[in-house]
Symmetry: C2
Subunit: 285 residues, 2 copies
């Protein structure tokens, strides 16, 4: 049976539509929400899709409200999809206690430790259930998917893209948590969601996955990082990517830019152009 989608709101935007939906997610055993931007229709054409994974404390609304991405997506003919950052109101004790853990902070992993494992299956939700839903209900091309994210969601985009080269043809991130198994936000989340055996954390660590897939995967990756980002040294560890000598990776540093959506807004046009270039190339191939 096809999942029922409940439309929460809809707004005309740059000749297309911003919509927000809720549906019951089988993977998370919980209601989940997402926003979608549909570019102006062009005949019966199906559009490439770029998924955007947001950071700590954000919801499915944040990206559509703050990033100014719709203008570019309308020009490039891209569908944008922004899921929420975790299940909510699951009834798990303490889920709302911390800003950097639990609700709003799912870290895009499939939790294996109780009590989180009952609902926090964000990796499966983002990479399987949500794309299947999008392709069923919207004019999306299933072979043309890119993934992008910010901070915790930058980690998510890198991990989803690196683990599923068959599903994503382009990866990009703003100020990602590059090595969560060695940063405080990531360690706190992984210990609770995955348990204390740190070997299991490596499967969700972008730096470890980059090293592991070097030579076997060729998905292009664009990362933008501001030099004035207050989380750069403690949480993001972006400098560690500089030693990789990885041909897939374009890492750009931006003087004066911080961790905010003002940074994302300034460069999201270039990220979407990067995705469109690789996704449309795929279509032509």
């Amino acid at each position: 049976m096809a999942t029922a989608l409940e439309l929460l709101e809809a707004h005309a935007c740059f000749g297309g539509l911003v919509q927000r939906y809720q549906h019951y997610a089988e993977s998370c055993h919980a209601p989940m929400r997402f926003s979608i931007f549909l570019p102006p229709p062009g005949g019966d054409q199906r559009h490439p899709v770029v998924y955007f994974l947001a950071g700590l404390t954000c919801t499915e609304e944040t990206f559509m409200i703050k990033a100014g991405a719709q203008r570019y997506a309308a020009e490039l003919g891209l569908i944008l999809v922004a899921p929420d950052t975790s299940p909510r109101q699951t009834g798990i004790s303490g889920e709302d206690d911390d800003w950097d853990f639990g609700s709003g902070a799912g870290f895009y992993v499939d939790a294996t430790a109780a009590p989180w494992s009952a609902h926090y299956q964000m990796h499966r939700y983002v990479t399987e259930e949500l794309p299947a839903l999008i392709h069923r209900h919207f004019p999306a091309s299933p072979r043309q998917q890119g993934i992008c994210g910010h901070s915790m969601g930058g980690h998510g985009a890198l991990v989803c893209g690196l683990l599923h080269p068959d599903r994503y043809r382009s990866i990009s991130a703003f100020a990602p948590v590059c090595a969560p198994s060695r940063s405080p936000w990531g360690q706190k989340a992984f210990a609770a969601y995955l348990g204390s055996d740190q070997r299991r954390w490596q499967g969700y660590d972008a730096l470890a996955l980059l090293q592991e897939t070097a030579g076997t995967s060729s998905t292009p990756i664009l990362i933008d990082q501001g030099r004035a980002d207050p989380f750069l040294e403690g949480e993001l560890k972006t400098r560690w990517l500089e030693g990789l000598k990885d041909d897939r990776l374009i890492l750009r540093w931006h003087e004066g830019y911080d961790h905010s959506y003002f940074f994302i807004a300034s460069f999201i046009g270039e990220h979407l152009a990067f995705h469109a270039r690789h996704l449309h190339a795929r279509s032509a191939a």
Copy 2:
């Protein structure tokens, strides 16, 4: 003595800067806040300024976060200034009770009725004190000012621009309250801020001012209105402008667009280009 400006936050954005300030406003006898966007510096050049007046429930942050205007202002070399929508925490009894009145709803008038008259001097603040402050502290050109706004702030932009053709060279509005003296939001605000004598309301009624200044003022006016705006008939009365046959006025209708910032974001680029064209023409003259 020059007013002290307290910097609350600053973010790099599109090669320029978004900043938020607080200062003590003499006109309102209260602290006031505003946001400013400074485009990328171009030598010792002074920039034209476009003021943006926001709508009910908004603050000085809303426009900078939601409208996506910085990209265009960076390209056009415009400074953007967005003041708060009212004084706050003045101690006036009931100031926070209603979403459409009191704090967040100053309606850009100089209140003459107690207790509001002690602090709600938003017209003087927006047209005199704030511009003087901007010209003192930032590389702004005092002869090149435009004014824009949304909903209650669209009313404010029309009224400020029409009352001060010597100060503003271009006026634009998104979904403005066109005839506040004949709409519920406006009547509630004007009765409290200006008293029950409705003849005094006409000085702040855009439709009345348009009729009054026809033939004596030539400031160009651009108004965008969505046909799916839920406030169109009850509050905005935009259709009443259609009968004016006013050469100053460009009124554009947009199928499917509502009252949200998704509507503003879709057309703010054209508004800023409109202002830049008239403000730069002034500079060349």
